[in-house]
Structure formats: structure tokens, C-alpha cells
Symmetry: D2
Amino acid sequence: MIIVMKHSATAQEIADIVGHVESLGFRAHLSTGEERTIVGVIGDERSLEPEHFELFPGVERAVPILHSFKLASRDFHPEDSVVRINGVSVGGSQVIVMAGPCSVESREQLMETAAAVQAAGAHILRGGAFKPRTSPYAFQGLGLKGLELLREARDAFRLPIVTEVVSPQDVTLIAQYADILQVGARNMQNFALLSAVGEVQKPVLLKRGMMSTVEELLMAAEYVLSHGNQRVMVCERGIRTFEPSTRNTFDINAIPVIKSLTHLPVIADPSHGTGKWELVTPVARAAVAAGADGLIIEVHPNPAQALSDGAQSLKPENFAKLVADVRRVAEAIGRTA
Amino acid sequence: MIIVMKHSATAQEIADIVGHVESLGFRAHLSTGEERTIVGVIGDERSLEPEHFELFPGVERAVPILHSFKLASRDFHPEDSVVRINGVSVGGSQVIVMAGPCSVESREQLMETAAAVQAAGAHILRGGAFKPRTSPYAFQGLGLKGLELLREARDAFRLPIVTEVVSPQDVTLIAQYADILQVGARNMQNFALLSAVGEVQKPVLLKRGMMSTVEELLMAAEYVLSHGNQRVMVCERGIRTFEPSTRNTFDINAIPVIKSLTHLPVIADPSHGTGKWELVTPVARAAVAAGADGLIIEVHPNPAQALSDGAQSLKPENFAKLVADVRRVAEAIGRTA
Amino acid sequence: MIIVMKHSATAQEIADIVGHVESLGFRAHLSTGEERTIVGVIGDERSLEPEHFELFPGVERAVPILHSFKLASRDFHPEDSVVRINGVSVGGSQVIVMAGPCSVESREQLMETAAAVQAAGAHILRGGAFKPRTSPYAFQGLGLKGLELLREARDAFRLPIVTEVVSPQDVTLIAQYADILQVGARNMQNFALLSAVGEVQKPVLLKRGMMSTVEELLMAAEYVLSHGNQRVMVCERGIRTFEPSTRNTFDINAIPVIKSLTHLPVIADPSHGTGKWELVTPVARAAVAAGADGLIIEVHPNPAQALSDGAQSLKPENFAKLVADVRRVAEAIGRTA
Amino acid sequence: MIIVMKHSATAQEIADIVGHVESLGFRAHLSTGEERTIVGVIGDERSLEPEHFELFPGVERAVPILHSFKLASRDFHPEDSVVRINGVSVGGSQVIVMAGPCSVESREQLMETAAAVQAAGAHILRGGAFKPRTSPYAFQGLGLKGLELLREARDAFRLPIVTEVVSPQDVTLIAQYADILQVGARNMQNFALLSAVGEVQKPVLLKRGMMSTVEELLMAAEYVLSHGNQRVMVCERGIRTFEPSTRNTFDINAIPVIKSLTHLPVIADPSHGTGKWELVTPVARAAVAAGADGLIIEVHPNPAQALSDGAQSLKPENFAKLVADVRRVAEAIGRTA
């Protein structure tokens, strides 16, 4: 961390801040410029809040130097992490496709979708049993019944399952049914939930909050990692901006930025990232072209009858076209899909 | 809801959408303009997702007409709600001040702060026992010990207590100690938590998410109300924007906007809304000038020693000045404080 | 346009708004729902401001139905426009690459860059002579001397030239030197400039403002089109968001969204869209995968010596790799480059 | 500026960057932390772009230490600047109110408004003659005729005039009619225009762009100041955010932030900052409570007939109430109005 003193800071104020830095167990390093003096703080600054120093007289601002995450960082783990899930490897040269309905609605709907996405080439089946909905009046998911159906589809199609967990007390239960625990965007900073999924030995798919920076996403991943669970995948799913023509703005820059900062695999969710089914395939192609390690795609046999997220769900035939497109793009950049 | 057909929509596509609207139990009302046909959907549209209709051929977009919240709306409850908490009324002509430390750190710190804020004129004591922190390496609060200290301060100073709840399983416990349950900004769309606080008969202080719209805030309030808990206060605490000079951008417009849409009291949090103690007093004055029913302010006897949010905490003497300022502004607009 | 009346609107208020709509030369169409009455406004609403109606008692809000642009819309021009510039066609099956230095700095720098980008496969040469800079103390471009150098490079390499125009009074001059007039992001709503470039018969490359919606971009294009200049290309170059890790957030969704709304060609600028040279190639690949008709890329023989935008400029060898990558991605989606 | 080296940076890379800093005429100061080495750059860094250094191998990022503006900064001009305009002082203890129609539409409309705002207590008359409009089909202002009417009103009511200038070539003309030249939000980074208004000896009212940071606003002010014109007032008029319920989000935090960074007076524009007339008075009160030196308010004798911005214009009687309210708030914080 560096502490920038005000233009008007006195020698005493500078001495006081140096004394305070040292009292916290850090070394202070002074650098006197033409208009400002800077105090460097030497030590593992991750336990410090920059704002803390701004309380002292004569301090203009404090700037962190290190990223606040460590286990998630490439600094100490330069090579890519590959997350292995029942024979599927995420983070290697193959681009992995997860697909399925937003919500599990019935056995028929799930089985039909599972058969279709497997036929098209998906590697992992997604489906929601516990649904976080913005309206208390909307369909909230089938709950345990949904988990059982997912398990049935898993066994029938031999596809690993990813499903969302929305509350810490559900983690143990869901971990008995699912292969991957998804933490949704609205829960990215639900720290009680992050701690709970960190305690079980199941891979975690952690979605970026719509209001969260890349740094905060990796800090949320750090929560899971710091509880001992190493199998974390992070997911770009669009952020909130001023642009009203799409539900979210898919942050394509974030794909290579995250890959440069962390060793964890990066998944792209163009279904939520756009909110409109017509945009899902072009943005899926773009995400793979930018370096995503996988995709998660909402598919429904009849989107107009879907109980949630129909507008962004692909019909099976459009999903098959997406997989074919993505495969060609993956090959164009030297990967497979 | 209205459904706007594409310029190129055929008569058959229009007929199909009319048939679909009717099959859902609504009436359809056709309006043929010069460039577009519009289908009005007559009925309580709150159970419909606009995006659903965009899946049909020939549909350009669907626009909701009603706000998605109902219990929170002034439409059916035009007069202001006044929330009563142990003799303190929030939402009436008096501007209420809640104040105290970000985190409860020790008995001494809490008692000293409680004495100071009471002396300055605060009506309610705030303090965090369970802290949601972005870093797993940061102070996480005293937990149950913190609750006990809050209870002790409550009894000693006869001030009602507001404290944050971060997990559904903690609601019952915290409700035994606190007078007001706070749902923090990062949990505004933690629907499991909203449902849980809706089930207890304790007033709720619901903070706006940093990237949530006013409509979403009132929808989150609707979650609590729909579970039977009528004592909800909503809180503007700043939103995330592109501006880097402050931690958040306090949305002053939201104060009169929320007051026009809902009967619930509106509290302002200039501590989080600015992130810098020097800005807290001017923005507190502004919030009251704009019509806020109350303030929640972080105060610490020694901000430079605070374990969290020190940079935005006021010293007791500055808090006393804030209260004096706010009182004069409240009187200038015909209220008291 | 539709006008949504308040829940509490009286019959007289509804009658008054109907009368007002008719007095403006439009037809009014009433639709009575369960909680709201809606007044449809029949006619070419583009001359109306929705906010106008919100002034009348009993009106909740007015919602436009039509896009505000007409000449730029696919409604009346469904097929793609192809812009022809001295033998180069933008908007057809071939992905066009424009490349060159941010600023023209010297004859040597420009000629070396022009030779390199042509050898790598670029179709059009870019270079700035008049530079809009956020600091009055920064390099402002070579001005007329820069234009002359661009003209020299144009003749030597037979590459069409694109350069920025920043002031209405410069349009005529620059049009004598350049093949394409660029309107920069900061001038997207400089209406005096849009009108001026609309008056000359030179193709225009119109960049999206960093905080402009897609609708506003197409409305700016409408300004140029409405002055009689039909050769307009629009350019996505990143928008401003809360994410600090990149200079801008490249809005990949906007590529297919713009293509669906307008017949005009869409160019992608990953140099400004990311602000970091390491991110330019992956985002360029992504833009082409999403359907962009062309790219504009900053290239400098020695970025560390560049007088502007060095951090986002590619070295010639990295640009050659970008072109090779982009070609493979274009082929993967059935185009050429 | 400080340059943060990567964790993996070699001794040679550090030596190279030190050499490069010195070759640019600055001194380099090394600080070796536990995980990163930092190179301090000693000298007036305002001529350097931080991104420049990020091109060098081993560099993670560069962080500017100084604000990029100097003439606008309090560092070298700690006391408030007071701008004097024909007997009106802006920036002193009195809060100044500018008011009038968005556009000058006719002699009657202007004279009626001028009489009303003067009677209510306004100090300066506003009115637009050259209007920047997002649609080429909308009313563009009366132009020269509008200027003449403003001059007539100025003489009749002895009120100084503020009007917008949209193009560099109009500056000389408008300066003959107006007392204050307004640079609008969409032109805040129209550097040709900023230079032009910097060359005349007329006070300038510079509005913050809806996409601009406080730093960029002060940098735009620096453009004007650096051309020799010292009478600059900056204006907060709302920024663009994700919140759709208001036209802009008025950045109340910016009022005290700007006051702390610059000596220039700060004006608030709650008309554009909200976009809705019902919100103008509460937000005007808030702006004054937060420390604004003045207000600029749109007033129209008949907003429903206004040719532009009717929805945010106050009727004369509501404006009179606003002035009365603002006066009481100003007195509550020890100022006059």
C-alpha cells in the first residue's frame, strides 16, 4: 500500500503516519516528490483497509498495491487449474458446454431437454431446483422434487449435474444430489453461503454479481478457496450498465482479464449475459473466441411454456446449431469443444 | 402489459398472440397504429413476465404497465405508514436518527458510543454483530457476544437497537436481541433471508442494493410484506456508478421518488452513501432537505482504531454537529428532528 | 406512444388527455384495464416527447412505441447497406480491417506503420491529425501537416484513409484529404459536427459515445443520414461502467443488437474498447465471432514511444497475428477477412 | 506517479524501467516490498500517461499520484474564487439562483418568464437560443433571433443572461449578447469549444457531462483556465446510471467533493439532474444543503406548451415556492439566498 500525503501535509503529520504504520507491524518507506510525499507500507497489506489511513490528518488517500486475493491469484499459482468432475475436465484445451433448463419443471421437460443437449454435444446438465426469484409471486422451483429429477436424469444420461444453492442450510442436501454447486449472481457476496460451499468437497460454479468487479469476483472465489475447497470455476454472466436494450451487458473483456489474474477456469453464460435468445449464439461464439473455458446455456423444449427465463432459452435445434458454431470457433483458435 | 408487434408482423401473428393472451386468462385489446400494432393485456399482469411474449413470432417487445409490487405501493395504501418501535415513530413528521458503530468491538467502545449518540440526540442505536465482509481475512464481528453487548446497551440507555442479520438461520436468534432487523445491501436480493425476516414480527430496515433499481428495492420490500410483516423501512445507501471519487453515489433523487411510489418510511445512510466521513454531514443535510424520514449514521469514539468502516465513521463531536445541522434543516422544511 | 394514466386518474383527466392528443393532430385510442387506463397515440410519434404528456394531471408516464430513428432503421430498409470506399466494401461478407497509429507523429512512423499493416492484410489506414485530448497539456496532433502525411501514405500504399474530425469548420478541409471522416466518441452528440459531416459526400465512421445507448448511437447516425449522406458506418468502442480493470467495457451484445436494428455496417474498435494491448486480439476475435463487419485497430511500430494511446497499440508483429486469428474466426462463421 | 512491478519482474526489468524514467527527465525512487517492487516517479507527472509505463516488460500498472488539473486545484489556490457578473457574485456566502426557460420560444414567453423569475428572487436569467437536440427532427432553437430577445429581456429586467454555445464559431457572436457562456453536458469534452470559450473574457458555466467523472470535469475547466479565462463555474447536472426512474442521477456527493478539490464555484442543476418537475424542488433544497453556490432552474409559464424540456420545467408559482424553500435551507446552514 502507498499512502499519498496532501500537498499541505506537515512534517509532523508525515512522522505520525510513519509511526502509525510501524505500530501496525509494517515498515514505512518515505518518498518525497515535488508536490506530494508518499509513504510506502511494506508487508502483507491484505489485512489493511486503505480507507483506514485516510482518517489521519495530512493524508490525501491510500492506494493498495496488491490484489486482495491470494489463493485465487496467478502470482503463487501460475499454471492453469483444471477442475475434474466425473471424467469431465474444465480448464484444459477442451471448451466444455453445460446446458439445460433454467428450472426443472417436470420429469418430461427435464428428460427431453437432457436427451437433446446430450445429443447436441453438451458435457454437463444444468437445471434449477431452488430458484431465487425477484417476485414473491413467481414460480420458486420444485425444491427437493427437482433435485430427485436431476439425479434421475444424471443417472439416465451419465451427465454430471450443476444446480444452484441459495441458502447455507441447503448445501449438505444439495451436495448429495449435484456434481457442481452453483452460487448465483445475487448471492456472490452472500458470505455465509460462500463459507458453506467452501466446506464441502464439491466443485463450485461461482457467478459474477451483476454489480461486482472482477476483483470482487475473485475475492468471493477466495472465500471458497480459503475454506479448503480448491475446485472453483468462476462465471461471467453480464453486468448491469446504463444500456437498456439487453438485460445485462456481457463483459467480454473480463474473459481475458480474469484468465490473466487467476488460475481458475472461466465459464461464460451468454443466456443471462444477454437475456434474449437471438443474441445467445453470437455471444457464445464471442466468449469462446475470447478464451472462455466453457459455456453454460439455457435450453428448453418449448421456451414459450417455460416457467422462468423462457425469453433467453434456446430451443434444442438452435442449441445444436450453437454447439456446431462454437466448435468451429474453438478450432479456429486451437482448442476443441 | 402492452405487446408491441413488429413492423413486419402478419395478421396471423397478431391473431396468434391475441389467442395466447386469452389462453392465459387475460383479455386482449388491439390498437392498430400507423407503423405498429399494439396488443393490450387486460388483467393483473404481475404474474406475467414481459419477456415471455417476446418469444412469439412477430413480437418486438412487451412493456409492463403496472409496477411489480402491490403491498408496497401507494396505489392501494395512499397514506404514509408510520412504523412504531418501542415508542419511536418512523415515518411521521419527526426525522429519526439512528447512530452507532459499524461493528460492536467491545463493551467500552459500544457504551461510550451509545452514551455519546444519545447525548447528541440519536433515537436508535445501531451496531453490527454479524458482519458481511468482502475479505475472508477481515474481522467478521463478535457474533453472539456482540448481540449481548447490544442488549446491555439497549437496557442501559433505553435506546432501541438495529443490527444486521446475514443468514436465514440467524433470524430467530437475532430477533430476541434486536428491535429492528437490518437486511444489508448485499443481501437485498437474498430471497431466503427476505422470507425469513418476513415471518417474524420485528421491524425490518431494508437497504437498497448498490446496483439495484428503486423498483427492485420495493420488490424486495414486497417479499417481506407478503410474508405478513408490515413494519418495513427502506434505506437509500448509495449506488455503484462510474464515479471513483466516492465509495458509492448517494442517489438523492431516490428519496422523493421512493416517497411518491410507496407508503413505507425512507431512511438515508450517508455513511455508506459517501464512504468518507467529511462528506457525511453535507449529504445527511441534503437527504433531510430532500424528504428522508430518518438517517442512519456510523459513529466511533476513535475512527482510526475502528475494526471496520473507520473512514466513514464520525467522531462523537462531529456527530453532535451533524444532529444540530440536521435539526435546523428539518425545521426549514417544516419537520422536527 | 402510449400514455399510462394513474390509478387515481379521473374520467375528466382522461378526457382531457384524449382532447390534447387530438389537438396535436393524432388519434387517441382508449384501453381500460383493471388498474390503469391507457391512451394510445396513433400517428408518427417521432415528433413527440414522452415527457411532455407526463405534465398533465392524472398521467403516470408515457412510453414511446417506435424507435426514434427512421432512416437508420431496418423497418424501411431491411437489407444490409454496403458502404463502398475506393474499391473497399464495408458491410458485405468480407470483414474489413482498418489499422494504423492513434496519432500521426512523423513521416517515418506513418510510413513504417502503413507498410506493416498493409503487409499484414489491412484494407484501410487510420491515423489521427487533429486529436481531442482530455488534457490541455497533452500532444494535440500535427493538424494539417498530419493530413498531408496521411495523403502521402494513401498514395504510396493505395490504402483509403480514415481520420477524425473534431470541429464543424474543419470538415471541408479534412474531406479533401481523407476517404472516411471519423466522428469520435466524445463528439457523438456534437450535433453541429454531425450536421456538417452530413453535408459532405464522404463516408462517415461514427463512434458510439462511452455512455451512449445503442438507440442514441442510431439517433446520431440519423442526424448524418437526414442531411443526405447515406454512407454511415457505426462503431462500437466500449462503454463506461463501474468495472475498473479495463479502460472501457466493450459491449459485445451491441454488435448483434445493432445489426438487428439497422442496415448500416458495424465496426468494432477493441483498442479503445479494452485500453490494453494484451486484450485487443482476444476481443477482436470475439467481435468478429459476434458478427462485426469490420475492425479498427491501433498499431504503432514502437508503442513505448507513442505520443498517445501507446498502451493499447499493437506492435506490427502482434497485429499480423491478430489478422491471422481474425481470418480463421471469420471463416469459422462463414465470412472472409 | 508510482509504477508497480509484477511479482515476477526481474532485476533487469526493474533496472530498465528506472532507466526509462530517468531518460524522460524524472527521478526514480525504488521501494522494495515483500511481493512487489514499486518505482516512484519524481517530478511533474501531469505530462505523463500512466498507461505508457504498462507497456514495459515486468510492469503491472502505473498509478498517478497528482490530480491531472493544476489551475483548477485548491493546492495552489486554497481560497474560494468568487466570479463577478455585472454586480452578481457567485461563490460567496449568497446562494445564486439562475432561472428561465429551456428554450427561448417567443418574446411573450421570455418576457413573462423573466418577470416571474425576477419577482420570485432569481438573480440571473437563463434561456437557450442554440439548442443541441438528440433528434434532428426536434426544435433547434431560434438562433440569432433568440439572442436578440435575450438581450431585450436583459435590458428590460436588468438581469444578467446565461445561454448555451454549441460550436466554436458561434462564441464571438454569443459573447456579444450574453453575460455567461454555458457549455452543455454533451460538449464538456468538445475541446475545440473549450479552447474557444477560454479565449474570450466572459464567464463560463461548464456543465458536467453525463458520462464524466469529477476529475474529468475539472480537467475540462482546466482547458478553459489554461487559455486565460479565469471566470469558470462548474455545474453538477446529474450523471447516467442504471436507475431508470429518473432521467439522470443527481450526484449530490459531487457537490462537497468538487468544493474540496477546486476553488471554483459549484452550481447545481436539479432540472436536468432529475428530469421531472416534481423532483426539482426537493433536489434543489438538497443541493443547497450540501453546499452548492447556486442553482440553475428551468421555468416556463406553461410547461405543457414548452417546445423542449417541459417535463422538467416549473410553473412560475412552483418556482416561487422553490426560492422560498431554498432561502430557508440556505439560512439553516448559515448562508443567504
